[in-house]
Amino acid sequence: MKILVCISHVPDTTSKINFCDNNKSFDSDGIQFIINPNDEFGLIRAIWFKEKTGATVDVINVGLNNTEQTLRKALAIGADKAIRINTIPKCSKVVAKSISKYLESNQYDLIIAGRESIDYNGGMVPGMISALSKINFVDKCTSLEITNDNVKAVREIEGGVENISTSLPLIISSQKGLVEEKDLRIPNMRGIMMARKKELIVIEDYGFKISSETVKFEKPLTKNKVTLIPSNNIDKLIELLNKEAKVI
């Protein structure tokens, strides 16, 4: 089984969010970047298949060379090969089209992308790849078992889950639940050394046109101060929730 995991390179979850370039771009000054957590769950599941069934795991990113450190981290965790398409990931369509273009000449049985990237929160790329490459798709996957070509997947829906039986080739969007938190891996020294020798292929920009464009970013206004209520005056809280906030 050949697996491709789409990796988006996102600011660490504790990052302070600031913008530059006339509030048109994210200010990455002093920011640590990580593998998008939703992609990491998918990557760890892919590596599980590699270790149990001998699958191969490639990782792909659409981005400039600053994302190579993140791809190297994925290699250090256990992926076999990395691909970077040298394009500014300005809009989800361009990302999805680039990955689908790569798929035209490279076959995979399973493609994993995150449910959403934690920076732009688009939640768009996996569905787009599925339609562009005409590959069957299971969104918001919280469990994935594969025996031969038989796939058992669990999809999260409002208030529950759907158990799905399907087949390869398949694209899923990954999220928490796909693997346990304790199975997440921090690259060790050996992994990091091996990653240096692994292949990182760079593909030149395919030149797709953008479909939507960021005009500007703004930060929410800072909140008013909290109203503290003494713990022996719950009636006051109920009055405020009823009269002021109008939520009960």
């Binding site: 934690i118 768009m124 799905i164 906030a245 939520v247």
Partner: protein, 319 residues
Amino acid sequence: MCILIYAESEKGKLKKDCFELASYASLIAKTLELEVHAVCFNADNAEELSNYGVIKTYHYKNKNYLNFDATIYSDYISKIFNEKFRFLILSSSSNSRYLGGILSVKLNASYISNVISKIESKSSIKVVRNSFTNKAFETVEALEKNVILSVAKNSFEIIKEPVTVEIEEINFEMSGPINIVTSIEKSENKISISDADVVVSGGRGLKGPENWHLVEDLADVLGGATACSKPVSDLGWRPHSEHVGQTGKPVSSNLYVAIGISGAIQHLAGVNASKTKVVINTDPEAPFFKAADYGIVGDAFKVVPDLISKIKEFKSSNL
């Protein structure tokens, strides 16, 4: 020219957020000078959309109804979306978001998710969306002729606007879904986090799963859903589906009550979009107080039972 809304149904009935979508579509229809049409699948109350400005509904019907299937539904929605249409409006539900990416390819459309604003001008299609897990607003311009917007939950009011509706019934086939749904596990009487107007959430401060009756009882009296912080679901005290935050679910309820949650940045990111936040925590320095509207510094094991009985009293005296 028309706007199409995808009006989702469940068990043969339109979901409440359809009316939110129809109201939103009617709002932007005024600026854009367009008509609002809707497409739905097996919805016995399809005509109700006319109360919110929908003048034509394409109602796909199939007696041997199977489960939602993104590939099949997106094909049928694409069939409706002919040259007359420019906009498709989706909700933020799991099924609608599942369709969004697929349809943006099939309809050659710019797709913008988490939309929280109207459209101000006909000449350039710009909307504001939540981004960076609610830590920023992003204004985005759609560059293609066709546009798909998925609207963030609880961002727009339901506005009544009765019109006469024409309903076109169309039979549809569900032949050969590739994804076969073998079973659905869903607790029927439980409200899900994404649908709830009130969310009551517990953190590690509650000490253990045996104390969760506090969260559940409070959610019950408030008619809300239960949620938790990440370590609580990592420890297996609660299911993963209840984990809220940057790596869990986003919550945009009217009321969010946080009990024994410190308010780490990743947790706050997921609850910023909630309108009113109440925090109960023993530690006056807990970061959550900075993001809260109302706070009680106190022991959850004393405060919450008191709060439950006082709300019960309040509700019974305000019937």
